[in-house]
Subunit: 130 residues, 2 copies
DNA sequence: GATTACGTTGACGTTAACGTCAATCCTTTT
DNA sequence: AAAAGGATTGACGTTAACGTCAACGTAATC
């Protein structure tokens, strides 16, 4: 397979982050780029993980939580003895995501109400001004 | 109407927060409790706002963003001249929420995949062990 | 060979969102 | 009246998640 390794600069422009951020994530063991001497080379795996990290952040998860969740995507080389635990963790996370979506749906409905009210007022003003 | 004012202690047990948190929110003008001498008395309005604040936090919004969003729920006494702006802000927020939900749906689907894979492996182990 | 571009490792600074602690003040209960 | 329960205002501390800056290395380019 084509190795497609990325320098830190390439990563930054592709994902809209700073070098400091990527080094910070490495220090927290969220990313584990290879090295060419001292220069970092980010792999396909790193890019996939960064995508998940940024997604997690948008949902309000902490980096530590995200680190846990990344384990789910690292099943290939896991020991069988940990599979059950992994499964449990995944189910837990799934439940959390679904709960979050349900609440989001609620929030969206609420906001739609508010907008309806505002539009009502705007329409009134229209009428009064003609 | 029944005035139902709450002390800080009541608020804390009802919402699962600390006094410090409520005072902090007041300092940021997210809450504006009345006073009985120096003691804070939280109104129905404060309770409604706190509910929205905590919801917002679960979605990963900052307190400053939440402060903006709370404006949407404060339309009654607004000037007409600000209505259009409010409307725009609301639409913007709605779009953000919907985008967030779409991404959440994606994340849920991804995770379901992962769980499917784990369950597959668990089933294999079952077979191999019989 | 000097400059420019891109990278590295410290190390200290910053912001948000509270935690924690001390000193003080009512108010009610013993 | 003494003690206990709940509240107040500072004020300093803490953690997460980076920002910022200095000093240095290496590689290509003018």
């Amino acid at each position: 397979m084509t190795e497609t390794l990325s320098t830190i600069g390439e990563m930054c422009s592709q994902f809209g982050v700073t070098p400091r951020t990527l080094r910070f994530y490495e220090s927290k063991e969220l990313l584990t780029p290879e090295r060419d001497g001292s220069r970092r080379l980010f792999t396909r795996r790193d890019r996939a993980r960064l995508k998940l990290i940024l997604r997690g952040k948008r949902f309000g998860f902490s980096l530590e939580e995200i680190r846990q969740l990344l384990e789910l995507y690292e099943i290939g080389d896991q020991q069988m003895t940990q599979l059950a635990r992994t499964h449990e963790l995944a189910e837990h996370h799934l439940a959390a995501l679904i709960a979050k979506r349900d609440e989001l749906d609620l929030a969206i409905a609420d906001l739609r109400d508010q907008i309806g009210q505002v539009e009502g007022l705007l329409a009134e003003r229209q009428k009064a001004a003609e």
